[in-house]
C-alpha cells in the first residue's frame, strides 16, 4: 500500500517557508468506454485510463541576517499598487532603492520579484498584469544599480492572494509585488 504525504502550505509572504516536496503518480483508474456498436469499429479501453501526478514545492535554505533584520528597510519586501496601475508609488521608492543598492554591493546576490493582482478578471490576463508590476520594480532596480541577471520577475497573477476577502481593502492588499532573495 502506498503512503501519501500531504504538505500543508503556510501562506506567509515574508517567511516563505515551505515543506518537504512530495511527488507521486496516482494509480491508474479504469475508464469505462469503448462500447462496440454493430456496424461500427470496436473501441479500445487503452488510452482511456488516467494516471495522475502529485507535485510539491521546493524548500529554501536561508539568507544573510542583513536581509532579515526587522530594523532594516531590507526586511521590507512588498510594494503595493493602485488599481489598473503598474507605477511604483513615491512611498515605495526608498524600499526599491535600498534593495537595488544591496544588489549593487553584493553582485552574487539574486532575487525574484513576484507580481500579484487582485481577484478580478481573467486568470491568464492577471498573470500578465502581475508580470508588468514585477517588471516595473525590476526596471527601477536596474536603473538604481542592480544588474539584469540579478533580478528575475515572475507573476502569480491572482493565484496567491494575501487577503482572501472580496472588498476594496482586500483587493488593495493583493495588488502587490513581493521581493524574495535566492535561498528564501
Amino acid at each position: 500500500m502506498r503512503k501519501i504525504l500531504f504538505a500543508v502550505f503556510i501562506a506567509a509572504a515574508m517567511a516563505g517557508c515551505s515543506t518537504t516536496p512530495t511527488t507521486e503518480t496516482g494509480a491508474p483508474i479504469d475508464d469505462k468506454s469503448g462500447a462496440a456498436a454493430s456496424g461500427a469499429t470496436t473501441g479500445s479501453a487503452s488510452g482511456d485510463r488516467i494516471t495522475g501526478v502529485t507535485t510539491g514545492s521546493g524548500a529554501g535554505s536561508g539568507v544573510p541576517a542583513e536581509l532579515r533584520d526587522p530594523n532594516s528597510i531590507l526586511s521590507k519586501r512588498s510594494v503595493y499598487f493602485d488599481f489598473d496601475s503598474f507605477v511604483v508609488r513615491e512611498e515605495f521608492k526608498p524600499l526599491v532603492e535600498a534593495h537595488a543598492k544591496y544588489l549593487q554591493r553584493n553582485r552574487n546576490a539574486k532575487m525574484t520579484v513576484q507580481g500579484n493582482t487582485d481577484e478580478r478578471g481573467s486568470r491568464e490576463y492577471n498573470i500578465a498584469l502581475g508580470q508588468k508590476r514585477a517588471d516595473a520594480v525590476k526596471r527601477m532596480m536596474v536603473l538604481l544599480g542592480a544588474t539584469e541577471t540579478q533580478v528575475e520577475t515572475v507573476s502569480f497573477g491572482k493565484e496567491k492572494p494575501k487577503n482572501a476577502g472580496h472588498d476594496e481593502t482586500s483587493w488593495a492588499e493583493n495588488r502587490r509585488d513581493d521581493i524574495l532573495y535566492a535561498g528564501e
Binding site: 500543508v8 454493430s38 521546493g58 491568464e124 490576463y125 508588468k132
Partner: protein
C-alpha cells in the same frame, strides 16, 4: 451517490487514506422552454443490472435542454421494441418520441444492449442501434445512446461521451481533475500544494497542457493522461503560461516573458522550436488557434485596454476583433469558425459573451459578476465556465444561444478553470 461510494471504496482498498474527490453535481437552473417531450422507457431486464442505463440516457438528454422527460410509469405492457410502441398511448401523455430497448446476456459475461427511438407523431422509427458490451461499459454505452438520439434529433454530434477537465482547490490543495461530462467519475491528473491553472486538452484527447506553480513560478507542463508522464515544455526565465493546442495537436501557443513582457510564442508540443509570433510593447496573451489552424485569437492591451485581436500566422497581419467596452479577454473560437466566446467586463461585472464574425453582433449570455474561463463544447452548443455562488467557486454552463443554464457544484470545494474535452472516437 453510488458512483462516489464506489470510487471511495476503490481508494480505501488501494491506498492508506485519501480525502474525498470533488464529485460534481449538475443542477439545471433555467431554460428549455422549447424542449421536445420524450419518454425514455426502462429497458427490458435493465433492473437486473446494477447501473440504470435509461436513467443516464434521460438525464443526459434533459440536461442538454433538448428534451423534457415524460413520465413512463403505468404503461402496460411496457414496450421494449419499436414495433411494440403504441403511438396513441404516448400521444395521450404528450410525448412526441419514445425510447425503448432491451438488455440481454450475450455470453462471456457480455450484454447485448439494444435501443430504438420512435417518433410517435409521424409513427416512424428514427434510429436504432445494438451494442455488445461488458457491464463496465454500461455507463459509456448509456452516453453513446444519448449521443445517437441527440444527433438524430438535432443533426449535431452529442457531447455526452466527452469529458471535462477542471481545477479544484480544497484548503491548500489543488487538483486537476477529469470527469465525465455529467460530472461522474472524477479522476486526478495532478495534485499539488501550489496553484494549477489553464488546463487545455490536446485535440486528439491524449494529453493535457496546464500551468503549475510548483516551482514557485508559472511553468507550462504537458502530461499524458494514460501514463501520467509529463514534461515541462515551457520553463524559461520569468513567467510561462497560457498554453493552447494547434488543431493537429502538434504545437502549442504559449505566453512567455523571457524576452521582456508577456508575449506570444508557438512551439512544438515537446517544447522544441520556440518561435515568437507576435510583437507588441505591452501585453499579448491568451493566444488560441482558430479551428482552421491559420490564425491566433489573442488578448492584447496594445490599443490601450485589453481587447481581442486575430493574427494570421502566415502573413503576420493583425486585426482587432472586439470594440465594445474597455475589457474583452479570454477568446475561445467556436468549432464552426463563425465566431467566438469571450469574457467582457461591463460596469465592473465579468460576463460570458459571444461574437459572430459575420453580423458583428455581441450577445451577452451570463450576468456575472465574476464569470470567467469559458470553454466551448466540441459540438459548439454549450459553453462551460467558471462562476461563483455562495461565496464559492463553481462551474456553470450555458447553451450558445443563452437558452439553457446549468450549475455544477462540488461540496466544500472551490471549482474553476473548466476545459471541455474533444469528441471521443468510439
Amino acid at each position: 451517490m453510488p458512483v462516489k461510494q464506489r470510487l471511495l471504496l476503490a481508494f480505501l482498498l488501494l491506498f492508506a487514506v485519501l480525502p474525498a474527490r470533488a464529485q460534481l453535481t449538475i443542477e439545471i437552473v433555467g431554460g428549455g422552454g422549447a424542449a421536445l417531450p420524450l419518454a425514455v422507457v426502462p429497458f427490458e431486464s435493465e433492473a437486473t443490472y446494477p447501473l440504470g442505463i435509461t436513467g443516464i440516457v434521460g438525464a443526459d438528454l434533459q440536461r442538454s435542454g433538448l428534451v423534457r422527460l415524460v413520465d413512463t410509469a403505468g404503461v402496460n405492457p411496457r414496450p421494449y421494441r419499436a414495433e411494440d410502441v403504441q403511438p396513441a398511448v404516448w400521444r395521450a401523455r404528450q410525448a412526441d418520441a419514445v425510447v425503448v430497448g432491451s438488455m440481454r446476456p450475450a455470453g462471456d459475461g457480455r450484454v447485448e444492449v439494444r435501443f430504438a427511438l420512435v417518433d410517435v407523431v409521424k409513427q416512424t422509427l428514427l434510429t436504432s442501434m445494438t451494442y455488445t458490451v461488458t457491464p463496465q461499459q454500461f455507463r459509456a454505452t448509456a452516453h453513446r445512446i444519448a449521443d445517437a438520439i441527440y444527433e438524430k434529433l438535432t443533426g449535431d454530434p452529442g457531447i455526452f461521451s466527452t469529458r471535462i477537465a477542471y481545477i479544484t482547490k480544497q484548503g491548500p490543495r489543488y487538483q486537476l481533475l477529469v470527469a465525465d461530462a455529467d460530472g461522474a467519475d472524477p479522476q486526478s491528473v495532478v495534485t499539488s500544494n501550489e496553484p494549477l491553472l489553464s488546463p487545455k486538452w490536446s485535440p486528439d484527447g491524449t494529453r493535457i497542457a496546464y500551468v503549475s506553480f510548483e516551482s514557485r513560478k508559472p511553468v507550462v507542463y504537458v502530461q499524458s493522461l494514460s501514463s501520467g508522464q509529463r514534461q515541462a515544455v515551457a520553463n524559461f526565465r520569468g513567467s510561462n503560461s497560457s498554453p493552447a493546442w494547434s488543431p493537429d495537436s502538434r504545437r502549442l501557443a504559449v505566453t512567455l516573458t523571457k524576452d521582456g513582457g508577456s508575449q506570444v510564442y508557438v512551439m512544438n508540443a515537446d517544447g522544441s522550436n520556440v518561435t515568437r509570433v507576435l510583437s507588441s510593447g505591452g501585453i499579448d496573451t491568451e493566444a488560441t488557434f482558430t479551428p482552421d489552424g491559420a490564425s491566433l485569437l489573442f488578448t492584447s492591451d496594445r490599443g490601450g485596454t485589453p481587447q481581442i485581436y486575430r493574427a494570421n500566422l502566415a502573413s503576420g497581419a493583425v486585426e482587432r476583433i472586439t470594440f465594445e467596452g474597455s475589457y474583452n479577454v479570454s477568446p475561445r473560437p467556436f468549432p464552426d469558425g463563425k465566431g467566438l466566446a469571450f469574457v467582457r467586463r461591463d460596469g465592473g461585472r465579468f460576463q460570458i459573451a459571444t461574437l459572430d464574425y459575420a453580423t458583428k453582433q455581441v450577445q451577452v449570455l451570463t450576468d456575472g459578476p465574476g464569470d470567467e474561463s469559458p470553454s466551448i463544447a466540441p459540438n459548439g452548443k454549450l459553453i462551460i465556465y467558471a462562476s461563483a455562488a455562495g461565496g464559492r467557486g463553481i462551474l456553470a454552463a450555458v447553451s450558445s444561444d443563452g437558452r439553457v443554464k446549468q450549475r455544477l457544484v462540488a461540496p466544500a470545494t472551490e471549482v474553476r478553470e473548466p476545459a471541455w474535452g474533444p469528441l471521443r472516437r468510439p
